[in-house]
Structure formats: structure tokens, C-alpha cells
């Protein structure tokens, strides 16, 4: 198991943010996604669903995601037709672990790109 201990983070580092990403067109989630960010996550994913393309989500800056956030990713995948994908980029190890335990990554409409090995 990887060394190091987690040190408390200050609130400003961890605030949840949604930003748009140009290429490929999509969104990036960063900070800590908890109950207070679910609305923002839902809106961002719903908007992305409206395009006729794959839904690209950059998770590289995501420090934390709760079960509600994982569920929204799962339901987004459920709403996609078979020909479209939810593509999740660079989830940090712990986020990737939770994507697996919640079986989001097992969804046939989900592709996880550049997942780091568990630290």
C-alpha cells in the first residue's frame, strides 16, 4: 500500500467546481463532490446529455465523490443510447476505487480513460 498520510485540507482547496472543457467537448469536475454539489453535477451532466455526442468528464481534479455523485454518473450512463458513451478521464485512485465499487465502470456505456493504479 502506498505510503504517506492524508493531511487535512483547507476548505478553499476542496471546493467543488464544474468547468467546461473544449477538446473533446465536455466538463471537468474538481474539488470535493458531496451533497451540496449534487445539483451542479446533475445540471452539468444533463446539459452534456443534450448534445448528440459522447459525454466527456474530466475527473483528474476530483478529490472526493460521494455515493450521490456516483449515482448521478451511473444514471447518466443509463440515459445514454447504446451508441453513446460516458467517458471518464483520469480519475484519481480513490475516485476510481469508488467508481468500481459502485459498479459505474462496469456499465457498458462507461469508458474510464487513464485510470491511475491504486496508490
Amino acid at each position: 500500500m502506498g505510503g504517506g498520510n492524508i493531511a487535512p485540507q483547507s476548505e478553499s482547496d476542496s471546493r467543488f467546481r464544474v468547468t467546461s472543457v473544449r477538446i473533446p467537448q465536455g466538463v471537468a469536475f474538481s474539488g470535493e463532490c458531496d451533497l451540496s454539489s449534487l445539483r451542479e453535477v446533475e445540471d452539468a451532466l444533463s446539459a452534456a446529455l443534450e448534445s448528440e455526442q459522447d459525454v466527456h468528464v474530466d475527473l483528474s481534479g476530483l478529490l472526493f465523490i460521494d455515493a450521490g455523485g456516483l449515482r448521478l454518473l451511473g444514471t447518466t450512463a443509463d440515459r445514454l443510447p447504446r451508441s453513446r458513451y460516458l467517458v471518464l478521464y483520469y480519475p484519481p485512485p480513490q475516485v476510481h476505487r469508488m467508481l468500481s465499487l459502485a459498479r459505474v465502470d462496469a456499465d457498458p456505456n462507461v469508458i474510464v480513460r487513464g485510470a491511475a493504479l491504486r496508490g
Partner: protein
Amino acid sequence: MVHQGCVYGSEEEFLATALPFIENGLASGEPVLAATTRANIALLRDALGPRSDLLSCVESISFGFRPPERLIALDHYWREQVSLTDSRWIRVLAEPIWEGRSKREIAAWTYMESSFTVLFAHTNLWMVCPYDSRLMPHQIIADSMRTHPELVQGEQVRASHAYVHPTAFIQQRMASPGPSLPADPMGGRFTAADLVSVRDQAKSYAHRLSLPRSRALDLVFAVNEIASNVVLHSSGTGSVWFWTEEEELICEVTDDAHRSNALNPFAGRPPALNERGRGLWLVRQLCDRVHIGSVEGRTVVRIHLRIHD
């Protein structure tokens, strides 16, 4: 689910129970997995001859070493097989791992053995758990009869007279006080606005105990989820405490609300095939023990995490 215990004291006794269980499954075209010791796997392969190709084997130790890992391994195997076959049963010979375990690890595993019966009640798993009486202390053998509704010997199945329903079993275990009073507790009250601080407290406490990073993050996820449940589905306020008992970190979240319909002690079961898991199912996949009970009408969720492997 069928959940049977099997106490054996020799190679012959092991085979007398394990072989018919496996052979009947294979004959019906059912998936069968033997998760047992290396020596027992060799015995089974030898006895089955060429048919052993049909049997999946894994050493117990690789089929989930900590209780949550065993829970995940079992759930994954079940899910994988159900998607491949519509056979009546999915059979697993699941030998627990007791050797070299501390008192607390034994307690956590025993707790899980009891909980299986309810957590997987909705599945078509048929699980036989062999217990080697040559190696196990008497208490572990005695507990196997409390945690398994049925006992099997050879092809004879009987109800276990000592069986204690999981609800009663876990209450007994929660009631019994730990060996020491909570040492160095940390925590306090929280409201809906405090989830960030709850997570920060979890991180600080994990840091204080030098928890490995990934285990610390498991704690953060779990406590956030339990506190979120209070915020979302109940009074919105509660308290959270962290403390240490021997080699376990304990975290307890108490809901402020007095509720007549307290949280089910087995909330957070593995989801059905067409469903997605809820937060508490994820919590169960991270913690060595998840104890849901009530104290003076308030829902209390207590999780145990091993501090070091």
C-alpha cells in the same frame, strides 16, 4: 440464499460434505466455486479427477482477506455468474480465514458470517462454510453454529439449534462493552452545513493514527455517507465520534432524531441486478464492520476499520 456451516475434523469428513455439494452442483450444470485452503483444493481436485476442470478454485486467502473484501468477492462472483447462467443455484464453498487472526478480526469475521444470511437473502447463492475443528478454538466452532441457520455433514442437513437470527446476534455483540473505554475520542456535533468539517475530522483522526492513505480515504467516504444520510433522510443534525479500540478505529454517527422507524440494521444490502447500490452498500464494502443499531430511540451507525494490515 442457503447458508450452511460444516464442521470437519479430518480430510475424509471434509470430502464427505464438500464432494456431494460440488458434484450435485456440477451435475446440474450450476456454477461451483471452492474457496478453501490449498490442501483442501488439492483433495478436491484429486477426488474429482477430470471433472475438476469444471470446478473453480481459489485459495481462501485470495477470496477476500478482510471482511469487506470477502463481501466484495462474494458479490462479484454472484453477479458474474448470474449474468452468465440462469441455473437455480450458484454454489460457493467458502472457508473462512481464522488463522493468525486477532480477537477483533475474529469478531469482525463472525459478525459478517452472521450478516451474510440477511445481506444475501435475495440471491440464489448456496454457501457452505467449512470449519476445521482440528485448528479452530472451541469458541469459533461454537459461533459457527450461531451464525449458520443450517449445518451440513455429509449429505445430512439439519437446522442449527444454536442459531441466532442475525438481528439478535448483532445486537448481542453491540451490547457487550469493549475491553476499554474509548481512548482519545475526537468529534462533535454536525449539521447539514458541516459535511466538509466531518470529512476533515476523519482525515485528521486518520492522520493522528497514521492510517495508510487508502484506508484513510475509505474512512472519509464512509463517515461522509453516514452523516449525509442523517442530513438527507432524517433530522439533519447529529454527532460523530472517532476513537480507537485495540487495533481498530471506530467511528460512530448518532442521529439526533428520535424515530419510531429506526434504520434497518441490514440497510445497505448488495443491490439487485437491475439496481444501483446505495451509499450504505458502498460503506459495507469499505469497513471491517458496519453496525447499525439504536440507542434510546436514536439511530446509531458504528463502523470499524483496521488501522493497519
